[in-house]
Subunit: 335 residues, 2 copies
């Protein structure tokens, strides 16, 4: 498959993925036009044939058209890197635009991370997860423990897991949710990097490793957890240890508004801010632009860190999906 | 310890690290001046006292002064992140400047990666390592298998390992060595990103994940290996699979010179170039600046990939040290 073909195939697969239903070539051609491209329907049919041959799509019927296969989903995931270059920062901006949570009323959609774990190991270790929330290193106080997987069509792309009854899905709030909440107040939060934050005596001390969001196709927080660089269990015991966190910048003109909103977030059980710097001043040794101030935000996947450190297999998907906040529960009630 | 203190402590520790010998406060003060700072000797003594108290340094005698402890080495490694931000690209540039290998004569220093592995597991699996070299996915044909660890003072910072007789150290050529070789010909190679390269039918096909060198404190190649994202064994069997590689750019004006040097590198058993693009043209879907052309270079740690994929514990240290090329051996003779 040459690059041009590959590009077109990916465009079609992505449309099928977004629509989450079977589609015919006419409907796909219409969607492609909506994306600012013009392909005659016979071109769409030509590339759909290629998709079928590669088993990326499967024809259900003449009438309802094609659906995306698991192989097709994989193909999207590993598609051209230039579409993924800077993907983390793009995905952060896209999801924080798309969510529609209203802080005052506590209604609307938020951004969720998904973690998959063996059910038995989860129940044996959930007190560790609870402990992280209690020590305020989770993103807010709310999470999701699906009892029946098929209740959650939002978790697309995980069909194999949903059928495996030994596995449980945990949905944690993604800290990018804060970017989305602040956007409602016209405050653009820039996610600068994900890092490994050393805590000392219960306070952020310094970052020891960092990966910039605009230069990576992989989520840094996911990576730091996967290579087991955190020492969350030490933190829980002694108040000192390495956790995941991200560094963000907000405009100095919104400084007082952010301070005020941080208090509201706290009352709403939605806080994840570990530190707020002064305009133009470094925060934990990290310099910020004169017109901005720094924020250190806890990694939404931190509650899983103690389990990962114990070598329990946890499959994480950061920034996985939008989810209705009303279906989340306070950790005190479910852990 | 406040940030200012921490900064000064790190400055002192780094001097002790670079000098690799015990030093008194007078000698350290002189070194600090050479770094463009001026601290009176009593300031140095004050901070040395702090270093002693924190067990970062140890006084050997009044006359010969202090040495760096293992704890001090750790402190340097996890010191302020802003000194490490962009560290990968800075370290790449620093080491490729410092090496002095002369291609024509095959003499001088090159840049080495260090891998530490259980001796028994190494001997049981060395045919896999050999296979990667044979398939030309190693960096060149030369490597190092130290028989007696104390012969290699270059491997500083690894004292615990050197004493453990169950462990073996493998030195592979770091592909940044190529940057250093080209610099001798006035050709600056920019290392853009480290990535996961999908090979198809023995040829580079596309990058599926990338991390930019100027936005990370960790080596991307080391990370991709550690999280087991490679499928080198598939490649060795079928000619298709994911390996580590980096994407670099070189100036278009030097295009013909680079092509010529690539042949010389090949003859010298020092090639690691998997693909060379045309000036201003994308390579494997990665666009390059108009005035440059792209290069895809194999990851120097690729020979260890099959072992890591088999869940054998391999501790990698990319870009670890400069090393005299004459002490390396052709893989055909030692594997």
């Amino acid at each position: 498959m040459d690059i041009e073909t590959q590009n077109r195939v990916i465009s079609i697969l992505k449309i099928l993925q977004n629509e989450k239903k079977a589609m015919g070539s006419t409907a796909i051609a219409r969607k492609i036009i909506a994306h600012g491209l013009y392909w005659p329907e016979r071109t769409v049919r030509y590339y759909l044939k290629i998709c079928d041959d590669a088993s990326f799509t499967r024809k259900i019927s003449e009438k309802s058209g094609r659906i995306l296969t698991d192989l097709g989903r994989e193909e999207i995931a590993s598609s051209f890197v230039m579409k993924k270059l800077g993907k983390m920062s793009s995905r952060i901006n896209a999801l924080s635009y798309e969510m529609d949570f209203i802080l005052k009323k506590k209604i609307g959609t938020v951004i969720m991370n998904i973690s998959i774990i063996n059910k038995k190991e989860f129940y044996q270790n959930k007190h560790h997860i609870k402990n992280v929330y209690k020590k305020k290193l989770g993103m807010g106080e709310y999470l999701l423990l699906p009892s029946r997987a098929d209740e959650y069509p939002e978790f697309n792309g995980l069909p194999a897991v949903l059928k495996n009854s030994n596995k449980i899905i945990i949905g944690t709030l993604c800290s990018v949710t804060l970017n989305g909440i602040f956007m409602k107040y016209k405050i653009y939060i820039k996610s600068v990097f994900g890092g490994l934050l050393e805590m000392k005596n219960h306070l952020p001390f310094r970052f020891t490793e960092i990966i910039n969001y605009d230069g990576t196709s992989l989520d840094p927080i996911e990576m730091f957890l996967k290579v087991k660089m955190t020492t969350m269990r030490d933190y829980l015991e002694t108040g000192s240890g390495k956790i995941t966190a991200s560094f963000r910048e907000a405009p100095a003109v919104a400084y007082h508004e952010v301070i005020k909103l941080a208090k509201n977030l706290d009352h709403a059980g939605l806080n994840g801010i570990l530190a707020i710097g002064k305009p133009g001043m470094p925060l934990c040794g990290i310099p910020v632009a004169e017109e901005n101030f720094g924020l250190i935000i806890t990694g939404g996947l931190n509650p899983l860190a103690p389990l990962i450190e114990k070598n329990i297999a946890v499959e994480n998907h950061a920034l996985h999906t939008l989810f209705d906040f009303s279906r989340l529960k306070n950790y005190n009630n479910i852990l």
